[in-house]
């Protein structure tokens, strides 16, 4: 496979292609369908055409992205498939993109989730369908852009680009509370990102106004600890808000609840957590290793784990339960990153992937349930295992992965985080482990109320089981869950190298900052 990829010069075009394919698809969709008179809705007959086109674009994106799995050599340091073009010369901003093991896995996750999400909610959107899929494709470009940018200004542009399609999709095609949810999502995220923008300006000026390059800044940025703390705080705030770290999580349950399935899936890709690993910690290593900051951040993580699980326990609405459970999982990511051992970081990245898979699968299943029953309240279900056995089995499997049952993907990630963090942070690890127990409680209890219990609601008797399309989608999720759970080593191999380098780099940076501190009285 690597030979084949080399023969087609995969590295030279893959990243621009990944950014361009969704945009091209969005443009094509504008042309698709019999063009109705201006201002008129597309006819239902043309819907299929648009959907197929959107799905084909997402599928093409996934196929192109798949090559990254073999292309990114875990043993090699640094970024591959790099592209470096001048952009705004006067400010030293460049169009620099590249991937390493961590970003490759995240890109792969995004590119595989999106077609599945589109397939899972095939018939849900019936108004303004072309705009819907166009926005979804633009959103995907933005997410990929965030994962590949190696230039802070470019990163910021992509980071904000994600916001707009998300805002419109939630606001136009969302549920009943969509206006409130979308505005809140926008404003809350924007506070974080604008403060990050100020921090980016400061970083840029510390470099003498010469560069926004991540690698150059990581190497050369020498700021004293007080400065680093503030800048780190600004970056961390932006990322914590985006990935819904406690106590900045309040927007997520609303947004995910109101969003259509595809966008709820996109929200479960933890771009914010990726930002912490890629930008916040490496740029300000001394701050990230500072005892005070570490105590606060890990404290937030642990509180988030337990709090998320406890709140999930009492949610009457299944979607909100899933959102809170992902808030709980984000705590594991943060704990893993800030415990800063090779094992825990590796685990943290794996939890990022797992939360993506599990929460996305849940959102798809809940979307299907919603299509059938027009409700997401747990109390409205009960005993559906007898009516829709396949759907119930899938739901149960995904729930198991959410509670980290051995043999599913969830187990591997959380185990690595706890194992890696225990030596340095025993109390935090033990508290986090109670989150796993609570997780089992809320998930199993919810499963019991939905698919077991007596079948006392007559409306549930008429539910249809999965059709072939839905079965295919959920089987793909099941394969991913079991594959990472049973045979995680290919995945771990790919994450191990970058994680070790990450830890090494941060410790080096912190030492350099300490010597700087000692040198300047």
């Amino acid at each position: 496979m690597p030979g084949f990829l080399a023969s087609i010069h995969y590295g030279t075009w893959v990243l621009p292609a990944l950014l361009a394919i969704p945009l091209a698809g969005a443009a094509l969709i504008r042309l698709a369908g019999r063009s109705p008179l201006p201002g008129q809705e597309l006819r239902a007959a043309a819907w299929r055409e648009v959907r197929v086109l959107a799905f084909a674009t997402f599928a093409a994106e996934a196929v192109v992205a798949l090559g990254l799995w073999w292309f990114v050599d875990p043993a090699r340091a640094g970024y591959v498939a790099r592209l470096d073009l001048p952009w705004i010369q006067d400010w030293g901003a460049r169009f620099t993109i590249g991937v390493d093991g961590i970003s490759a896995v995240m890109i792969l996750l995004t590119c595989l989730l999106m077609p599945l999400a589109v397939a899972a909610s095939w018939q849900v959107v019936t108004t303004k369908i072309r705009s819907y899929y166009s926005l979804l494709l633009i959103l995907t470009s933005g997410v990929i852009g965030v994962f590949v940018s190696l230039d802070l200004l470019l990163f910021y542009v992509f980071w904000e680009l994600m916001l707009i399609p998300m805002y419109f999709i939630i606001g136009i095609w969302g549920g009943t509370e969509r206006l409130r949810a979308s505005l809140r999502y926008f404003l809350v995220t924007m506070i974080g990102s604008l403060l990050m923008l100020v921090a980016i300006v400061v970083c840029w000026q510390a470099s003498g106004g010469a560069t926004f390059g991540l690698e150059a800044l990581t190497r050369t940025l020498s700021l004293d600890l007080t400065y680093q703390r503030w800048l780190f705080a600004a970056f961390f705030l932006a990322f914590a808000i985006k990935s819904a770290v406690f106590p900045f999580h309040t927007w997520l349950p609303d947004a995910q609840h109101e969003a259509p399935t595809t966008t709820a899936v996109a929200l479960s890709v933890k771009v914010g957590a990726y930002g912490i690993v890629r930008f916040a910690v490496p740029l300000f290593p001394a701050a990230a290793l500072d005892d005070g900051i570490r105590a606060i951040v890990i404290g937030l993580a642990v509180v988030g784990i337990v709090y998320g699980a406890l709140v999930a326990l009492v949610q009457p609405d299944f979607k909100k339960l899933v959102s809170y459970s992902s808030i709980s999982h984000v705590g594991f990511i943060v704990l893993g990153v800030f415990a800063l051992t090779a094992t825990s970081v590796q685990g943290a990245v794996l939890v990022m992937v797992n939360t993506g898979i599990t929460s996305a699968a849940m959102m798809c299943i809940l979307g299907m349930l919603h299509e059938r029953r027009k409700t997401g309240m747990i109390a409205n279900f009960g005993g559906i295992a007898r009516v829709v056995p396949m759907l119930s089995a899938m739901l149960a499997l995904v729930a198991m992965s959410g509670i980290a049952l051995p043999g599913t993907n969830g187990f591997v990630g959380e185990f690595l985080v706890l194992a890696g963090a225990f030596a340095g942070f025993p109390v935090a690890s033990i508290l986090a482990a109670t989150g796993v127990v609570l997780g089992a409680v809320y998930a199993l209890w919810a499963i019991q109320r939905v698919i077991f219990n007596p079948l006392d609601n007559p409306e549930n008797r008429r539910m249809k089981d999965l059709n072939r399309r839905e079965l295919a989608v959920l089987s793909a999720f099941a394969v991913a869950i079991l594959w990472i759970g049973i045979w995680p080593s290919p995945m771990l191999d790919r994450l191990g190298g970058p994680s070790r380098r990450f830890v090494m780099q941060v410790e080096q940076g912190a030492r350099a900052a300490a010597t700087l501190e000692a040198a300047t009285p």
Partner: protein
């Protein structure tokens, strides 16, 4: 490089060429305008010629710029910053004239003189950007203001227009008096009205610390604050912009502001310099107050024109942040910002014009409900303007880099304005509250039954909307050329300021 000696009439004429083209064009146009009886066709022809005058002005500016003219410290400045701001003003005039053609026809405003007034106001503005002498500056202010007072009340049948005009006139006259008194006191303290001479005098503490100078500068600043609509001197703005015909509100919000800021920057960098601690402090508080007041009050507006006028106050605050930096980089940021701001704000007023189907001029936000479903192009253009004003990357195009430029200028100043930068960022979040509100209304609210869709926008309005959207988005993807021009022009025009002696005691 070609240095001009301003004491030789022929060379003075060369230095004034763009202003003379526009001013002379305006005079001839006035003759033509009154030559024929009032009619739709005549008004239209005058508008076309007025646009031709603007294009000739642009050509003259480019010609002068291209020849690299310079001059000593005479009464007028001949430098790249003047040319850049002239171009922004001419762009604003062009856009205003273009959208006023259809608007006036629809509102049955047939007086051809108003196009002439736009050109004359523009020549005043161009005088303002050129002024290196407080007397020239005052002439420019008056020529600009008097023309605009009339434009605000040009619709004689509208009582709100009359109110707007009178209010603008009274407060404008008041502020001109402040300005004039300030000029007189500064002259008394320094013995000169030339900015550079004043700047030299300012370097002796006896002058810069004298009470007469301080009061003079304070009055000068009040005059400017009125003109750029900075809080707490902004009270007239919403009423005036709301009452005036939409295209002329756009002119006031963009071109007038551009000219006033160009003059303020020149006064800051050439005359006051970094010598006066109190001047800096006053600017600091003006900027902070303007950002907060403009953006907070905009939230509760449900009238689009009023909302845009409060938004223009907020943007005056953002621009004042760059002025407060008191560096050439700040000047560059202002030039860049004004381009983005002019495109977005006049674009938004173009949409207001396209929306307003001959009603009484009240533009309630409910009329925009579900606009996306009936006029998708108009709604998307408005969304781009709103996001550009919000300073959002890519979708808001150039607006993001404008805000970024100001942020960078504020943080890069020899006394970093970190607190102002934070206020800027937080008020930007506040401004999302109203920019997004309009977007939400257009895209996410259903179109009410019985609300007729706005008439299709006609040629020129459409052209203005399309061009401004394309420019905003193109510079949002690749701002390099615009950045280069802004940077070079400011650097070539102003000597870099000496580092401030007491940098620590600046921000309160």
């Amino acid at each position: 490089m070609m240095p001009l000696d301003l004491s030789i009439p022929a060379q003075l004429t060369t230095a004034y060429l763009p202003d003379l083209v526009v001013m002379g064009g305006g005079m001839l146009l006035l003759l033509w305008a009154v030559w024929r009886p009032e009619s739709e066709a005549h008004s239209r022809s005058v508008a076309w010629i007025a646009m031709g005058v603007c294009l000739a002005g642009i050509a003259a500016v480019l010609w002068s710029w291209n020849r690299g003219l310079t001059a000593g410290n005479g009464a007028i400045a001949v430098d790249a910053f003047r040319w850049v701001t002239d171009l922004v003003i001419l762009l604003g005039m062009l856009m205003t004239l273009a959208i006023s053609v259809d608007f006036n026809q629809r509102m049955r405003l047939l007086a051809p003189e108003m196009h002439v007034l736009v050109v004359l106001a523009g020549s005043g503005m161009m005088l303002l950007t050129a002024a290196r002498d407080l007397m020239v500056l005052f002439l420019g202010v008056e020529l600009m203001s008097v023309s605009v007072y009339v434009l605000a009340g040009i619709d004689r049948r509208s009582s709100r227009g009359a109110e707007s005009s009178l209010k603008y006139f009274l407060l404008g006259a008041f502020s001109s008096a402040f300005l004039l008194y300030g000029i007189a006191l500064v002259y008394g303290a320094t013995g000169s009205t030339n900015l550079v001479t004043i700047g030299e005098a300012m370097s002796t503490p006896a002058v810069s610390g004298s009470p007469m100078m301080m009061v003079g500068l304070a009055l000068l600043l009040v005059g400017f604050a009125f003109k750029v609509a900075a809080a707490p001197f902004h009270m007239w703005t919403p009423d005036v912009y709301d009452g005036a015909p939409a295209p002329y509100s756009g002119l006031m919000a963009c071109a007038v502001k551009t000219a006033s800021f160009a003059a303020l920057v020149r006064v800051c960098l050439e005359a006051v310099g970094t010598g006066s601690e109190r001047w800096h402090l006053a600017l600091w508080w003006l900027a902070a107050a303007t950002m907060v007041v403009g953006n907070l009050f905009a939230i509760q507006q449900r009238n689009v024109k009023r909302m845009l006028s409060y938004s223009s106050i907020g943007h005056a605050g953002f621009l004042l942040v760059a002025v407060t930096a008191q560096t050439t980089e700040g000047a560059a940021a202002i030039a860049f910002y004004l381009v983005a701001y002019t495109l977005a704000t006049l674009g938004a007023f173009a949409v207001v014009v396209a929306m307003n189907g001959g009603s009484d001029g009240v533009t309630h936000v409910d009329e925009y409900a579900g606009l996306w479903t009936v006029r998708p192009g108009l709604a998307m253009a408005m969304a781009v303007y709103m996001l550009a004003l919000l300073g959002f990357p890519l979708v808001g195009g150039m607006g993001f880099f404008a805000k970024w430029y100001v942020l960078q200028a504020a943080l890069h100043a020899s006394a970093p304005q970190t607190r102002l930068a934070i206020i800027l960022v937080l008020t930007t979040v506040v401004s999302a509250g109203f920019y997004l509100y309009l977007v939400m209304v257009m895209f996410m609210r259903p179109r009410p039954e019985g609300l007729a869709p706005p008439p299709p926008a006609t040629g020129l309005t459409r052209l203005v909307i399309a061009t401004s959207v394309v420019l905003i988005l193109a510079f949002g993807l690749y701002p390099s050329p615009a950045v280069k021009v802004a940077q070079r022009s400011a650097a070539a025009s102003f000597a870099p300021a000496a580092p401030r002696p007491t940098a620590s005691a600046v921000a309160p």
